[in-house]
Amino acid sequence: MEHVSAVLLGVPYTLLVTVVALAIGAVLGLPLALARRSPLAVLNVPARVVIDVLRGIPPVVWLFIIFFGIGNQFVTLDPIQAGSLGLGLISAAYLAEIYRSGLGAVHSGQWEASSALGLSRTDSMVRVVGPQAFRVALPAASTYAIGLLKDSSVVSAIGVADIVFQATGDSRATGAALAPFLVAAAIYILLGTPLAIASRRMDSRLRMRVAR
């Protein structure tokens, strides 16, 4: 039982890093997705390189580059800042691809119909295509968010006091090597399951609305 209370101390940090990283990713992912879809090579080629490089290097390596590399030699960052920033940038790349496939899934007839009605490109995007793309992208985005909750455990490697960090500390302090990690596993599963259920519910609600 004392393992549970010790490991639970990490939950706020895990949630904090996950939410901040998602927020960064959700915002930065949008221009990245639009640039990636642009017909202009000056926009889509760099966007593609950024996305591929962000996704091609393991998250923990990014955190090390940011925390030990940039943090030691250029600007000083604390572990939470470095962790949120690193995971946020990676999330931007993944979410950009999710947005992009959502936009791609909206039938081109929708663009044509809105421009035939005289809507500007921006209006078409914001009022017609965007909402539909959001609907399409939502399941993938929520799957990603649930995945990120677990993957955020890598921030323990740079010293963020998250669930895994607490489990490791508790294990060292008490000498119990199995229980703290089992508790950590259980907490991740308990955190992830309601999120999965909520996203499924939201998905079916949105589907009903779009079908109508």
Partner: protein
């Protein structure tokens, strides 16, 4: 600075190259063990018998719900308590294989479900048993459909080998880190490590895209 960086990189490359080898080997072993177990779990999860299906689903969900890092800690630090001590490489292989099994079982199940239902009916109409239908019709096609997603997962698993840094396996990241801690050139050496990861993940990613297009053309 650029000439410096280049000469540093050349100096570190052999050491990091050995680390990369370990990472690639670890990924290969984990996938080679994990994917067959994933296939088995996919078949069990697709079972019509609830007594087989339900425990398999629970197993898969636990496997997918637990971060690979936690599985790794459990196997390496936890199992010795239960009387089973594994070396870093074995522990990392076992942990990543478990994660692989849980994830790939869902990918493979998706592949099995994507096989047109009419083909299952055709083999039933020919009098074939459930087992034979699975073996000769569903699994060969389901696996083929799952290949692009499996390769994609394989790339993520290769990236996940970097987590073995935490159990002091001498893979790419931990070699880069130890060079960093002795030279204090963290940024430069970690950047090289990143480039080496990219050297594997980028071509594999392109390969997946091509594979996807090829396979969708055939099916």
């Amino acid at each position: 600075m650029n000439a410096d960086l280049l000469s540093n990189w050349l100096e570190w490359l052999p050491d990091l190259g050995r680390g990369l080898q370990t990472s690639v080997l670890l990924a290969a072993v984990s996938l080679a063990i994990g994917i067959p177990i994933g296939l088995l779990l996919a078949v069990l999860v697709s079972s019509r018998r609830a007594a087989i299906r339900m425990p398999s689903i629970v197993l898969v969900e636990i496997g997918r719900g637990t971060p690979a890092l936690v599985v790794l800690q459990l196997v390496y630090f936890g199992l010795p308590n239960a009387g089973l001590t594994l070396g870093p490489f074995t522990a990392a292989s076992a942990a990543l294989a478990l994660t692989t099994a849980a994830y790939t079982s869902e990918i493979i199940r998706g592949g099995l479900e994507a096989v047109p239902k009419g083909e299952v009916e055709a083999s039933q109409a020919l009098g074939m048993s459930y087992r034979d239908t699975m073996r000769f019709v569903l699994i060969p096609q389901g696996m083929r459909i799952a290949i692009p997603a499996l390769v994609g997962f394989g790339i993520l698993m290769f990236q996940a080998t970097s987590l073995a840094f935490t159990i002091s396996l001498q893979e790419l990241l931990s070699r880069a880190y130890s060079i960093g801690s002795s030279t204090f050139l963290y940024f430069q050496v970690l950047l090289l490590a990143g480039v080496l990861y990219l050297a594997i993940t980028l071509p594999s990613g392109w390969l997946t895209g091509r594979l996807e297009r090829r396979l969708s053309r055939h099916l």
